[in-house]
Symmetry: none
Subunit: 200 residues, 4 copies
């Protein structure tokens, strides 16, 4: 009985937090971060202003949590997609994974504009507390262990990070500014370059 009561409360709490995250997400994507007032977020979420500060320290805080959430959602989807297919080699698998993300972001320009270059490659953030990310960490290990390269383990870690930075940075520039060219033109070159980096 007590447990059920507490459970219901905790549930309600979670609902409110998600309402706020959702509202913030849509506003951030639509009008940009700076232009979005907390006033608007709570109005859209249908809660009182004070409630916001019950769940988040300030705008920065909710933003950070949002980026993490959205990033990990995308990465999870990509991993799911990858696990449903067979690939000739681990590198092909990895390239497919990257391509899936590039395509996803191409279709969600505004989301990407919001994630900016702060798209977090999740596995490289030092988030140990967050339970949701365990499977993502496993995926990372999977990639790392299966590449057949001349790189040492340490180098390989750095190379992967480098590649992820390159992908997000270039994809951003291409999608948002069409520089150096639209994404359709950039993508093949980008992927072939990555292959070149991994298969030496």
């Amino acid at each position: 009985m007590l447990l059920r009561k507490e459970g219901r409360r905790a549930q309600k709490k979670l609902i409110k937090e998600n309402k706020l995250l959702d509202a913030a997400y849509h506003l951030f994507v639509e009008k940009g971060i700076t232009a979005t007032a907390i006033d608007e977020i709570v109005k859209k979420a249908g809660v009182a202003k004070g409630t916001f500060y019950l769940y988040f320290k300030d705008k920065e805080d909710i933003l950070e949590k949002l980026i993490l959430k959205k990033s990990s959602e995308i990465v999870k989807k990509a991993l799911q997609e990858v696990s449903n297919k067979e690939f000739p080699s681990p590198v092909d698998k990895f390239l497919f994974f990257l391509e899936y993300i590039i395509d996803y972001l191409s279709k969600n320009r505004m989301l990407f504009r919001f994630l900016k270059k702060d798209f977090s490659w999740v596995f490289y953030k030092k988030i140990t507390e967050n339970d949701q990310l365990v499977e993502i960490k496993k995926a990372k290990e999977m990639f790392l262990k299966n590449f057949n390269t001349n790189y040492s383990q340490e180098e390989l870690e750095m190379v992967i990070f480098m590649i992820l930075e390159l992908v997000s940075s270039l994809t951003y520039s291409s999608i948002v500014n069409s520089e150096p060219a639209p994404i359709e033109k950039v993508k093949p070159l980008l992927l072939s370059t990555i292959r070149k980096i991994l298969e030496n």
Copy 2:
């Protein structure tokens, strides 16, 4: 007589503009962009508040001009350095050029933090009006024409852009967050990767 007067005026104007740019630069670097109020800029520059709006549209405006100015300064220095040396190949020349910039930014963390990932590679901005950048454009052509690669001209342009994005993005992450590792560890790997990309 009239001419001299006008000359003096223009000079005075330039002095004020530079005072403002200088003041803004130091404040941006020290306290961050958002945290810097125009009030402080004009105070530091020793001019009246209204004067700011005589030279710049708003904070964005002065920021943009500042980034361009600082970026082009760095690039110019790097090009100067390059032109004083002999290199075994154009790729070596280019790598030296990149290394010089990486080293420079390493020594000026705060500057980089301010330039953020907005470091502008100048030759890729569509700045046609700005006369100062002509020589930089020439430098770009020099690089482009002398690489001996399998890439088409169009591809090569994109690859260069890609490399520049990679350098700024990764160097930033490494210098500011030490991710994936400190710059000393990342640099050799980065440079060798770039060489791999260019020399196929």
Copy 3:
């Protein structure tokens, strides 16, 4: 059985009230009254927010009760001390009583800062309900009846009040602001002045 239950309940109640008073006291003394939020009080006391309002009307209310409590504690201690000693005259007795309080407050600057000039001389508050103060009232009468002065009873009451105001006001200023001088310098002059007032 019922009685015992009720007793326990009443006891529990008292415990909570005291926890709240204690928590409030420490916070008021440490960070000041305005800067202390009820949120912090309940957190420190380890009770729920709503519980606060079960025992006190608002911040004012707990503050008032706290001042009364602390003031009466000090006065009681002073009276105890006095009753253990012999004095050449009632005036000497009274002066010793005052000196004891001054010394006590000197050693507890922060407490005094909190009591501010609101230190309550207890016997002058019209507290009829509060049972704890009966003995203090008796003490007051003791002082009043034994002074050998030219004052009428009514005048004497006022003079005593005047003296108490003077002591708290000047001691406060001296202890907290060192004005007109540190308490060591002020105390002898203050006491001799009071003697002069009483022994005319």
Copy 4:
């Protein structure tokens, strides 16, 4: 021409500052300090909210300046009054000075409630920069030099301070709370006590 312009500006500035001080004064006295919002002050003063912060750091700041202003006004009036009369002795002069202030405050209960016990005896604040207070300092010296007492100079300073504390503290209590009695009853006793202190 330039001077006149600047003069006019400075004049206007002073007018605004005074408008704000006036508005704050009336609101503080009427509704209390905490209950007065800066919003109301600026509305009453007829200026924009931001203007407030052009002249004062915060509510504390304007309050402090106000207390100083009002206190010094009263003291000045009292000194003026004193200088127009002849007195049998310096002590009589001083007592008249005090009585004038007591009477003034009796007639302005609300003002006193606002000044609270923070009534500043001006000459004891270490205000050296403030030019307006020079004459008041002179007055202080006048009092100090002319008393014919057994006190050393240092003691006398302390005694005067003590008396001023006593007067403000007791008068406050008497006027605002009628404790230990209404001011009409307290005043004669207070003054005779002070005489006793000074004429030993």
